[in-house]
Amino acid sequence: MIKPEDDIHNALAAADVEEPSQAVAPANSVWKPLSWAKSNLFDSVPNALLTLLALLLLWETVPPLLSWGLFNATWSVADGTAAACRDGTGACWALMGEKNRLMLFGVYPYDQHWRPLLATAIVIAMLATSALRRFWLPALGYAWLGAVVVVAWLMWGGFLGLTYVETAQWGGLPLTLGLALLGIVLAFPLSIVLALGRRSNLPAIKAICTGYIELVRGVPLVSVLFMASVMFPLFLPEGVTIDKLLRALAGMTLFTAAYLAEAVRGGLQAIPRGQEEAADALGLSYWRKMRLIVLPQALRLVIPPIVNQFISCFKDTSLVTIVGLYDLLAATKAALADPEWRPFFVEGYVAAALVYWCFCFFMSRYSQWLERELATGTRR
């Protein structure tokens, strides 16, 4: 069903986008669209041709996309069937209304969905709080400790009135978020140790760290997960099993750490030798020298590649589906298994992609902010 007010709204929004921000700042500060277009879009024949080509491409793609995604889209269905969607020509966003819980929470017991919802909300709220510098206090550490306990209680249950839910039933966004977050938090310190080890003067430590990094970087994540999930239990004694989720998490962590280690090593190599010498000359021990002098500078330098790896890790969680875990993408796929809604798989994947994009875009923007915020060394 198309809502007319949406139509107007979207048309207005589209008109807003057209308005360019102050592209050129003439001396009299009067913006002249025609002269701007002339000097920027049509200043030479090849440039004019490129401009026309770009306009043609936009004309061919944007209106059909808008009419599919917005103007002709079906936003809700009254009867719980996909009949209205099949009749319409646009996107079937009603799918979200019908299947959002399965997509977001996977096979977690349906009547308990408030638990992963609350857990996810707590984690996102804590992440948002931690992002702000004014909250970088010791209390934040205790808050995280408390949050982890509450989230674990919500997800597992088993005491204080909540029924027990085993990890095999976890799924959807909480699983994706949890795997990515824990993977990053565990892989980061490990990567620092690996990077320092690879630069160590002690041959045995250097060989172990270099060997580990090169070995893990040489195989795809899928095979690491597969080994963690299928091969690893073969080496365990009879009767001993390790949680499937934990094995996948270990695989993700070990894999991400190897890549992160190389990013960290890049930062370590960029620190002038004189910094270490000055720390040595003051009598600082190796670990203090690293913690107080070298790492703060090195890590600041490699924020972009580190966040790159974090983003990569977040998206790589979608691979745990091959060991039978239902992350956000796998849960979306499962939701689309319903024959009634199967034709509208595109909408499902677009929605899942949007969720991934939101988190990744936030990480990317946050890293840019963090770089500026921490750039004291170059501040003049």
Binding site: Q275, E277, A278, L282, G283, L284, R288, G377
Partner: protein, 252 residues
């Protein structure tokens, strides 16, 4: 030249020190003896091994032959001994090597807090006293990148002094400075010399050397060519090589 009487026991002693970089023999039979309160100025052409020698004294470089004894402790592979010596030997570098991510005050308090474990308030008091002494107390909250070269080097001197060392090493402290900033750093060093600090200073500033040195050391090709009191060193050098060097740097 300082008038204070010098005690006889050496606080820094290099005996037949040898060092190689790969196949290149950079220090050959280097002998040096520094008594408490003595100011030694080391000069020589570039590549003569003078920086390498001074860096061996606090083990920034490892020597491969001979002995180095600092404050009664022999430098060897023992990490504890090395750290003990470094606590007592301050060093000032040609390129300052301040910690750019810390404020001037934090640069000064870092080692006292983390190596000597003195209370923070005490470390900051000491740091402010030292910044007054090097005449930049108003820069305490700034970052090194915001200071001029001369100011940065004075912070570096204060940072070394914050550990209350009994020996100070200066490795060409004014070589990286613009000419108009050399004096402000040398003034601080002359003041320090006047207070009786034991100093080993690699420098080409011969005016400074005349003013403070008790002993001049001339090095070339990895060897100590001449060791003499400054009057004799400047007016009547024994070696032809020294005479030639002095002619080159003082002649014009």
């Amino acid at each position: 030249m300082s008038e204070a009487p010098l005690s006889e026991a050496p606080v820094v002693e290099l005996i037949d020190v040898q060092k190689w970089y790969g196949a290149f023999h950079v220090l050959k039979d280097v002998n040096l003896s520094v008594r408490k309160g003595e100011k030694v100025v080391v000069c020589g052409p570039s590549g003569s091994g003078k920086s390498t020698m001074i860096r061996c004294v606090n083990r920034l470089e490892e020597h491969q032959g001979g002995r180095i004894v600092v404050g009664g402790i022999e430098l060897a592979d023992d990490l504890k001994a090395i750290e003990a010596i470094r606590k007592d030997v301050g060093m000032v570098f040609q390129s300052f090597n301040l910690f750019p991510h810390l404020t001037v005050l934090e640069n000064l308090t870092l080692a006292p807090l983390w190596v000597k474990h003195i209370p923070k308030a005490e470390a900051e008091d000491l740091a402010m006293q030292l910044l007054k002494r090097v005449r930049i107390p108003d820069q305490a909250k700034k970052y090194p990148g915001q200071l001029s070269g001369g100011q940065q080097q004075r912070v570096a001197i204060a940072r070394a002094l914050a550990m209350k060392p009994s020996i100070m090493l200066f490795d060409e402290p004014t070589s990286a400075l613009d000419p108009e900033m050399v004096k402000e750093v040398l003034d601080v060093m002359i003041e320090l010399a006047g207070e009786g600090m034991t100093m080993i200073c690699v420098t080409h500033e011969m005016g400074f050397a005349r003013a403070v040195a008790d002993t001049m050391v001339f090095m070339a090709e990895g060897r100590v060519i001449e060791t003499a009191p400054p009057q004799q060193f400047f007016s009547d050098p024994k070696s032809e090589r020294t005479r030639q060097f002095l002619g080159q740097i003082i002649g014009h």
